[in-house]
């Protein structure tokens, strides 16, 4: 059964089908959810199966459709909203932050709004400053929101089902470069609990905490380091907020070293937060200073030339770990520099 392999996109699609079948009050909307492209394939077939009242297109009105999901939530409906980019959703900050995130709290816990908001992080092919922001730390900063970032097809399905049936607003962030990842996914319904990190690989020399697409890069780095007898423990955070510190703490106590990987700008990031907390709370267990790898604190440029070294990958991870461990190994073999650094693989030919 473990050979049932499907793409990340299919896994999201299956999760939506399962959730909508299970519960009549799950509704799914957003600009283009019913169009032929079906939100990069993730919402394909839903309208045919569940009808236009439960799966519907929207005007280009991000703020309003977020508020609509609050209203629907108050009346007992679970909304799943999709946006093709994180960046487009920024227009909805009022309804999200002043509304959805606070509703349960400010009305004394009497009501809650079960909303899942799917946002996609763009990367490469010139997406540039306003089509490739990650911004999970914005959402993680807001109490009352849960923030989820799956890294594999398996996680995507289980986390999405869990998010939809969670009674709180959940920001569900997908990385565009993960959409074509293939992996083992059970056919049936299963939930992955929110706020539960996963130890992807066990190891002793250093703890790597990673999220989303950086998990792919981390695995490459770890496989290389393994050949050189360096053993890393890889934690896939899966939920960015709240963070599963129990799992992180246990690992750092064992290894005494920490590297956190992020897909966002470094400043005031999820990575810097984890580094800070571990430094404060586990100082005595640390053998070396905790480190992080994130994007530089500049907007993402568009040009093929400017993005050449913009995104850190497995090579940077290996080099950072060697530095932390004060070791030197020839890393030339581990070059990230495929000629076309701005695409995840031949499946992606632009334009978005």
């Amino acid at each position: 059964m473990t050979n049932r392999k499907i793409s990340f996109v299919r896994a999201i699609n299956e999760a939506l089908f399962i959730a909508m079948k299970k519960e009549k009050k799950v509704i799914c909307f957003g600009l283009g959810v019913d169009d032929p492209m079906g939100t990069f394939g993730t919402t394909v077939g839903l309208q045919e199966e569940f009808g236009i009242e439960r799966v519907f297109d929207m005007p280009t009105s991000e703020n309003t459709l977020t508020g609509v999901s609050i209203g629907a939530g108050l009346a007992g409906y679970r909304s799943v909203i999709s946006h093709l980019r994180v960046d487009f959703f920024l227009l909805a900050m009022d309804q999200l932050v002043n509304g959805a995130a606070k509703w349960h709290y400010m009305f004394g816990g009497k009501t809650s709004v079960p909303i899942t908001i799917r946002l996609i992080v763009g990367r490469g092919w010139g997406q540039g400053p306003t089509h490739s922001q990650s911004l999970q730390s914005w959402f993680a900063h807001i109490p009352g929101l849960k923030v989820v970032m799956p890294s594999t097809a398996y996680n995507a399905k289980g986390l999405l089902i869990a998010s939809i049936f969670d009674n709180n607003p959940v920001i569900f962030i997908e990385h565009r470069w993960l959409h074509n990842q293939i992996g083992y996914v059970p056919k049936n319904e299963y939930k992955i609990p929110l706020q539960k990190a996963k130890i992807v690989k066990k190891g002793n020399d250093i703890t790597i905490v990673s999220i989303s697409f950086m998990v792919v890069e981390a695995i490459k780095a770890i496989n290389f380091l393994n050949q050189h007898k360096i053993s890393c423990e890889l934690i896939d955070l899966r939920t960015i907020s709240p963070i599963d510190y129990l799992t992180i703490n246990r690992s750092v106590k064992k290894t005494g070293r920490l590297l956190v990987l992020d897909t966002d700008n470094a400043n005031v990031s999820v990575a810097s937060e984890i580094v800070a907390r571990i430094s404060m709370n586990l100082f005595n267990f640390l053998k070396t200073a905790p480190k992080m790898i994130a994007l530089p604190d500049v907007p993402t440029p568009s040009s093929f030339g400017l993005t050449k070294n913009f995104y850190p990958g497995s090579k940077e991870i290996v080099e950072k770990i060697l530095k932390i461990l004060k070791k030197s190994i020839n890393t030339n073999k581990l070059s990230n520099s495929n000629d076309l650094h701005d695409v995840p693989g031949s499946w992606f030919k632009g334009p978005f």
Partner: protein
């Protein structure tokens, strides 16, 4: 319209058409590595409005801005170099196709988030009013933008302050692949709505360049003289896919029949046929115009391709103004 103006108009429309089509043609070389939103089929508005605006009138625009930029007189070489991601690009490669700028003609910037540039256009207009200059701020938008809150806020602000703004709303029926039917109420006229919001509004055939020119040349002086903003809806159609170089009539969100209907209303063909019929231009002259434009566009592609990529380290610069 004077004959001289007519020829200028034809040339401008053709420049936009041929430039867009050259991008479509060369896109599969994979050298222009950024999203492109082509305006083939919608050239009339960009050309006529661009021709009627003064060099120092301000323009802001959207993700689909190549035509607006060229219409206003923006530098073709710099635009193509931007799409190729080169140092000689109008935004030096930082912005890509969706972020064009040419300060020589007061094309102040196109931005890629729907509705984003609207209040910016209003801000430019506010300064015109403060300085009592006779400029205009022209704001290009698509009909999808009407659905955003910021549209209503901007219209309200411009109306309250009687700002010298021309709203140019190109209604091409789709927001990405979403039909207008599911986004705006049937039979609700955008122009009537905006009129009721306090801005004198019009709705016209966006493929009839004569009509566009006529209406705009009547209304622009009124805006200039302080009579307040104007809003014009232009009914038109984008021929190619929402984003990218191809046609997409086969994928199912719109029909080949609808496309063919609009293709028959090709703004350039219609205008050219009329000019020929009225003996205002000869086939020979048209051939020459086409040849010259193609030449110019080829040279611009060569320029863009030859221009170097910015160095990766440049990505880290430029965050704050000095």
């Amino acid at each position: 319209m004077l004959k001289k103006e007519k020829i200028k108009l034809l040339k401008k429309m053709k420049l936009i058409r041929l430039a867009e089509e050259s991008i479509a043609e060369k896109y599969s070389d994979q050298k222009m590595r950024c999203p492109v939103h082509l305006c083939t089929g919608q050239e009339a508005t960009a050309a006529a409005i661009g021709l009627l605006l003064n060099k120092n009138d301000y323009v802001v625009s959207t993700h689909r801005s190549h035509g607006h930029y060229l219409g206003k007189g923006g530098n073709l070489k710099k635009m193509l170099a931007e799409i190729y991601g080169k140092t000689d690009g109008c935004s030096k490669g930082y912005g890509g196709s969706m972020h064009l700028i040419d300060l020589n003609v007061n094309f102040m910037g196109s931005t890629a988030i729907v509705g984003n540039s609207l209040p910016v256009g209003a801000g430019l207009a506010l300064t015109i009013k403060i300085e009592r200059s006779k400029k205009i701020s022209c704001i290009f938008l698509g009909e999808g933008c009407i659905e955003e809150g910021v549209f209503h806020e901007t219209v309200n602000f411009c109306a309250v302050h009687k700002l010298p703004v021309l709203f140019v709303c190109e209604n091409n029926l789709y927001s990405v692949y979403s039909s207008l039917l599911f986004r705006q109420p049937k039979n609700r006229s955008i122009a009537k709505m905006v009129n009721a919001m306090g801005i004198k509004s019009f709705s016209i055939d966006g493929n009839d360049v004569n009509k566009i020119y006529e209406l705009a040349s009547k209304e622009l002086p009124k805006i200039r003289s302080g009579l307040g903003p104007r809003f014009i809806e232009f009914k038109t159609y984008r021929w190619r896919e929402h984003c990218g170089p191809d046609f997409d009539n086969h994928i199912g969100y719109r029909t080949e029949k609808e496309f063919q209907k609009w293709k028959k209303k090709d703004p350039i063909q219609q205008f050219q046929t009329k000019l020929l019929k009225n003996n205002e231009i000869t086939k020979q002259e048209i051939k020459k115009i086409d040849k010259n434009l193609l030449n110019k566009i080829n040279l611009a592609h060569n320029y863009a391709e030859k221009s170097p990529f910015p160095k990766p380290s440049e990505a880290l610069k430029n965050v704050y103004a000095k």
